[in-house]
């Protein structure tokens, strides 16, 4: 069922209404209620997401969404889609703002995610009617809605001249808080993030940095850091050694076998077991501490 929301409607998101050039009409699918718009965090980033970006979204968005903050993003593949997915997986609610007509699913191969958003009391929004296909100019215009809906946005990976920076500039104009996730100085995806940081964005290294801003009482611990301190005493032997290496840096089996000076067969068996115990995650051949 498709519904229309006008600026005069009581349900029209208040924060968005205050933003300049707010859309006069919003088309939507899914569940619409006031609590959904109460605390919103926009998550934007590169389409060409790296494994690091994916890990960062999992770590940050997962906890934030579980705490009850609505995750708003643009339904594009890469960081956007991952943010929606992680949010749903952690039991949160999410809003997808589409750059195209409300009846059109873009990108087309994400129909599963689309259905999943709607099934988990999420919302799909667009300022366009029907099956209008996205044009180049519609993306920045969509980004203005993402920025308008949220109290803060989180930029995970962004290169210079990327759409994420457009969203960030809207957020700045609307005086929203901008959070950035630090990245490697060697990655192209860090350049935009670095630029935002220079301009005064706040660095985020743990979900509590974001939750503090929303004044949420439930403050989860800084997981990575506590684990780093506890890890070595907690797990001993080879397992512990593997985990301590992986905490420093995600590595492939080859790299790990090199630094640990360990036989390949034995190491790969150990990693399989660690994966099955979910202590370690594998993504594209690299291993991460969960």
């Amino acid at each position: 069922m498709i519904h229309v929301l006008t600026k005069e409607d009581a349900l029209y998101p208040k924060l968005l209404k205050q933003a300049p050039r707010a859309p006069s009409k919003l088309f939507y699918k899914g569940t619409l209620d006031t609590p959904l718009f109460e605390s919103c965090l926009g998550v934007v980033g590169s389409r060409r997401m790296t494994s690091y970006g994916k890990q960062a979204v999992k770590e940050l968005v997962g906890t934030v969404a579980a705490a009850g903050i609505t995750i708003v993003s643009g339904f594009m593949y890469g960081i956007d889609a991952t943010a929606h997915k992680v949010c749903i997986d952690s039991g949160g609610r999410t809003i997808a703002v589409m750059p195209c007509g409300i009846d059109y699913i873009h990108p087309e191969n994400q129909t599963e995610l689309y259905a999943s958003i709607l099934n988990h009391s999420g919302l799909v929004l667009s300022e366009y009617e029907g099956t209008l296909k996205p044009q180049m100019w519609m993306y920045p215009s969509r980004n203005r809605i993402v920025a308008g809906l949220c109290q803060a946005i989180l930029v995970v990976e962004a290169s210079v001249n990327s759409g994420s920076l457009i969203t960030a500039s809207f957020a700045k104009r609307f005086s929203r808080q901008i959070f950035v996730v630090p990245g490697s100085i060697f990655s192209e995806n860090s350049l935009g993030v670095y630029q935002l940081f220079e301009e005064g964005a706040k660095l985020v290294i743990s979900p509590s940095d974001i939750l503090d801003f929303y004044q949420f009482s439930r403050l989860p611990q800084r997981r990575n850091f506590t684990q780093l301190a506890l890890g070595v005493t907690e797990e001993n032997g080879l397992e512990g050694e593997i985990l301590s290496y992986l905490r420093r840096e995600p590595m492939s089996l080859d790299e790990l076998s090199r630094v640990m000076k360990m036989g390949f067969g034995k190491l790969s068996s150990l990693l399989t077991v660690l994966c099955l115990e979910e202590k370690v995650l594998e993504d594209n051949g690299k291993y991460y501490v969960n």
Binding site: S46, R48, M49, T50, S51, Y77, P107, E108, N109, Q110, S159, S187, E188, N189, S252, L253, D254, S257, R258, K261, F264, G265, K266, S268, S269, L270, L271, T272, V273, C275, L276, N284, G285
Partner: protein, 506 residues
């Protein structure tokens, strides 16, 4: 006067005996014709034989010569009948006896010399089966024909020599086995030249040991092709029986060069992805073996796997399952052996960087999905091992002494692989299979008993990674191979855990 000379005709890999009947009548106008379904190259034999004989100073009869290639209803092709025809004409005209129990084979050149002709090995095979003891073959084919022992082989250099031999004045000296050249066991690439890529190398080791098919995925320039090229150096040598099978195919395809002998090295074929269906499977009106048969008992390396035309990829299904490919033509069905190992490599996406260097990848998810879809499920089902080959910083690694010292060379790996193969040979003595990869579910229940903790581990992995029933059995086969490499009778927890590393790429 009617003379009969024996030769063969090869259709596919089957040889049948051909009697070359030569009749010379001194009645009527001079005439020379060949009957018995000859193709163009046999028909032209007339000119080669006549000119060759005259240029050698041998009299050519100016009578009515009729040649019949019996059985007359089997189509024949090739230039191998020149020598039998010339022999027949010389014997009929000069009244010599045709040597008994002899097969003749070879192409005549206009100057009377005998040229290299393909298929000499098939001639020897036929001779052994049908109790012919003497072979007259071109000199350059002697090594090939000598692949079968126990035959007297006469290397014929030219028609003059043949004439003296038939006359009985100067006999051709038979070829003695001692001259057979030593097979070449050197390899162009060695595993110790490959730095890093331990996982991929281990996967190749497993593939070699258990005969598993393998798919490597990685960005361009990461070393997939080099790995594949070095693969041959860790495969066990061909057994005598296998060498005969391989040589038979190569002989039929005309792939044994002049002077070549039995093929002792495992075949390694790497067809380009523009190959046609017929080139891959075999084809022609009288079919010749294609790449899958040329890699029989060896390796078929398909670089850029998804780029091959779909029809070529799908054609691999039956041969991979049955070890034999059957090509049907109006004249009949021809079977070629095709028990090969598939080694495939692919990029993760059309541009090649997805998942490895995400910032460089320019592909949309749709393009990537389409690219992955090019390899069909049934083909993936037939591949046991999957491994990622990321790019490595070779410069950094090659300067590390520690890394260099740990590199295993191909010979060391080959020793392990050969031992693992011997274990399998013993295990499957009473079964009709050779390697772990060929095990069916019946064999798996018989030979791969899993201790409860091992089975639990496997089931956990199946649930976690959402694997299919087929993957379940694939992992057991791989674990069996890993256990064999360690000379362990039981499949241990470690073996299974390592096997899980090579499950399908997500």
């Amino acid at each position: 006067m009617l003379i009969k000379v024996h030769s063969i005709s090869t259709v596919g890999l089957r040889s049948i005996g051909v009697e070359v009947e030569v009749n010379i009548m001194n009645r009527g106008m001079p005439y020379f014709d060949i009957v018995g379904l000859p193709n163009k190259s046999i028909d032209e034999s007339k000119h080669r034989v006549k000119t060759g004989m005259l240029n050698s100073g041998i009299d050519f009869p100016s009578d009515r010569i009729t040649i019949n290639l019996a059985p007359a209803d089997v189509p024949k092709e090739g230039s191998l009948y020149d020598l039998p025809i010339a022999t027949g004409i010389i014997c009929a005209f000069s009244g010599f006896d045709v040597p008994a129990n002899s097969l003749f084979f070879g192409e005549v050149s206009l100057d009377g010399s005998i040229r290299h002709t393909h298929g000499a090995f098939l001639l020897s095979l036929y001779a052994r089966e049908h109790h012919f003891t003497n072979l007259f073959v071109p000199k350059e084919c002697v090594n090939e024909a000598a692949g079968i022992s126990g035959l007297t082989i006469y290397p014929v250099e030219n028609l003059k020599q043949l004439y003296w031999h038939l006359k009985g004045t100067v006999l051709i000296e038979p070829f003695t086995q001692g001259k057979l050249v030593e097979p070449d066991y050197t390899y162009d690439y060695d595993m110790n030249q490959i730095i890093g890529q331990e996982k991929a190398k281990r996967a190749l080791e497993l593939a070699a040991s258990g005969g598993h098919n393998l798919l490597m995925e990685g960005p361009p320039g990461s070393g997939k092709t080099l790995l594949a090229k070095a693969f041959n150096s860790i495969l066990p040598r061909l057994s005598e029986e296998e060498a005969l099978e391989v040589t038979k195919v190569y002989s039929a395809a005309g792939f044994i060069p002049p002077g070549g002998t039995l093929i002792m090295k495992r075949p390694f074929r790497s067809p380009h992805h523009t190959i046609s269906y017929a080139g891959m499977v075999g084809g022609g009106s009288i079919p010749r073996p294609g790449e899958i048969s040329l890699s029989h008992r060896g390796v078929l390396f398909m670089d850029e796997f998804p780029e091959f035309p779909r029809i070529v990829l799908e054609a691999l299904r039956q041969p991979m399952e049955d070890g034999v490919v059957t090509i049907s033509r109006s004249l009949g069905a021809y079977s070629f052996p095709s028990r090969f190992m598939l080694l495939a490599s692919s990029n993760p996406c059309p541009c090649g960087f997805f998942g490895y260097e995400p910032a460089r990848c320019k592909c949309t998810p749709k393009q990537i999905a389409l690219y992955k879809k090019k390899i069909s499920g049934p083909i993936l089902d037939r591949i046991d091992l999957f491994v990622r080959v990321p790019a490595v910083d070779v410069k950094e690694l090659s300067s590390s002494r520690e890394v260099l010292a740990k590199l295993k060379d191909s010979r060391a790996i080959r020793t392990l692989v050969t031992r693992a193969r011997q274990i399998q040979e013993q295990r499957f003595e009473s079964d009709a299979i050779f390697v772990n990869a060929e095990m069916t579910n019946v064999h798996i229940t018989k030979y791969c008993e899993l201790a409860p903790p091992v089975e639990l581990l496997l089931k956990k992995a199946v649930t976690k990674h959402n694997l299919s029933a087929r993957s379940y059995f694939k992992l057991i086969k791989i674990a069996r191979t890993i256990a064999d490499l360690e000379n362990s009778t039981d499949i241990g927890l470690g073996h299974m855990a390592e096997a899980i590393q090579y499950r399908t790429l997500g």
